[in-house]
């Protein structure tokens, strides 16, 4: 996939960019092609990068009392970054790894800020992306806090019907805030009914 096509696609998906601005974005775009299990961000490090996924998927996770807890998944046409490090410039509590062989676009915070300062339409693009992310997190709060384990899993499947084929259940369980065993029992029940 050509870089121009990618920027066009981001522009179409989120908020339109002028040709002029698309050119400028292109200039500061780096494309990565990485194998499954590659690490994009290591725990404890600073990361001023955001990754846009063209193909594949990634997972942000952290260690909570020694246990691996998944915090975010991203698939094609979505962004992933160490939210804490990227936005607050603190060491990243999260690690980010690839769950499949993937093709990514890498943006740095400086590039983004420069583009946003120079191009009003890029500033808007960022605003739109952040707003979408915020709404997604809002949905997640509603689901995680006030639903039963089973309802949470059902909600996840509704939002992402094929996720179980791409992400190991262990990760889904920790993402939902339930144990692997509980998730397994829920799935057992669902099949039988």
């Amino acid at each position: 996939m050509k870089p121009e096509t990618i920027i066009e696609h981001i522009s179409e998906t989120y908020s339109p960019l002028t040709a002029d601005c698309q050119q400028a974005v292109l200039a500061s775009t780096k494309i990565l092609s990485l194998k499954k299990n590659s690490t994009l961000v290591r725990e404890g490090q600073f990361s001023d990068k955001t990754f846009y996924i063209i193909r594949g998927c990634a997972r942000a996770y952290y260690l909570k009392d020694g246990k691996d807890v998944s915090d975010w998944f991203a698939f094609e046409n979505e962004f992933i970054s160490s939210i804490v490090s990227f936005f607050k410039n603190e060491p990243s509590p999260h690690a980010i790894e690839l769950l499949e062989d993937s093709i990514l676009v890498e943006f740095s915070r400086d590039e983004i800020e420069q583009l946003a300062a120079k191009y009003h339409d890029f500033e808007r693009l960022i605003r739109v992306i952040v707003t979408k992310t915020m709404l997604k997190q809002y949905e997640r709060i509603a689901s995680s806090q006030f639903e039963s384990a089973e309802q949470k899993y059902t909600n996840l499947l509704k939002a992402h019907p094929t996720i179980t084929q791409r992400v190991p259940l262990t990760h889904l369980a920790s993402y939902l805030g339930i144990t692997l065993e509980t998730l397994s029992r829920i799935r057992g029940l669902k099949k039988r009914i």
Copy 2:
């Protein structure tokens, strides 16, 4: 408090606005002074308004299986809106009410979009506010999903030491996703130790 001072203050708190832009914002600003228990948004209605709190506090809540569940609180210098209705233009699942006599600034979505389209620095202001909100929601997910009832309460107190003096415990309990009884027991324990 004069309207000019308010806009200046928003500009200082979140992201600077040019004098020109501040003038334009002023023109579409409506100041409200309302009594405790006033309703800003009713459940099931469309609301394209966002409220900035100058004095007082407000609460967004919804009914889940007949029970009142608090979803968001906002205090001085913060914004509150029906997130679903404002951003997705759907009927609001939330109602919003005042917990104290309050002074508010009301913005409509149209005004905001027009200002954002015309003024790059206003677009940035919105971006910054949405980003802050997103980070706050992120913290909330981490706390609500992976902490014990007691830890959640402790986290809340840390972020908002005086909240118990302004918001009834019932609302705090439902916000934290625990029952009033459990919250009361936690508070009992804390005092004794």
